[in-house]
């Protein structure tokens, strides 16, 4: 049963620390998305990649967030330095990128708490 995996599942850190979240997309999927979910804002798109190339990261605070895909099996989202307002659940999703529709398969999320 193919699924998206994310690590860590939970992370508690102190303000100013670096946080790295990892995602393994479903094998064969060529599109990867990073979302942030909070009660106030709902599900917000931070960035997405197609064939490992970043296509849009306009939803991401550039000064502290960075997203990369070192290879087809790994996507990373880094926050440096972290702030309390970054506390949220971060989801990675992957898709087939068929062009006419983008059904997304979500991972279980990383719950981040910045103290």
């Amino acid at each position: 049963d193919a699924r998206v995996t994310q690590t860590p599942r939970d992370k508690v850190t102190e303000m100013g620390q670096e946080v790295t979240m990892r995602c393994q997309p479903i094998l064969g999927h060529n599109t990867v998305f990073w979302y942030r979910q909070t009660m106030m804002q709902g599900l917000e798109l931070l960035a997405y990649f197609r064939n490992r190339a970043p296509l849009d990261d306009s939803g991401m605070p550039k000064d502290r967030f960075s997203a990369e895909m070192p290879d087809a099996t790994l996507a990373t989202l880094k926050i440096q330095p972290s702030e309390p307002r970054d506390s949220a659940v971060y989801f990675c999703a992957s898709g087939l990128g068929t062009g006419k529709q983008e059904t997304q398969y979500f991972g279980p999320g990383t719950r981040l708490l910045v103290l």
Partner: protein, 113 residues
Amino acid sequence: SQKIEQNSEALNIQEGKTATLTCNYTNYSPAYLQWYRQDPGRGPVFLLLIRENEKEKRKERLKVTFDTTLKQSLFHITASQPADSATYLCALDFSGGSYIPTFGRGTSLIVHP
């Protein structure tokens, strides 16, 4: 600006009844609309997709309608069960060509035994 509206109040219904959830949108004509289910502590799970030229889609006990004139989609669960209790999110393509969906905030459904 483009907007997706889902009822923020939870929908409470009795087991066996039909649950109907609403997704309204403004200022765009999406190419498609999707519905996802999200359980507490988990990521959203895709349920159904309906395209702009389709009026209705069914899958087992689920039915989705898409009225591009009213700018509204209705999501129905017939013969609802307590296991259907979850938050349901609609997502629309607002991206003007790249087909990346934008998600609504979701509506919580609670089915009472």
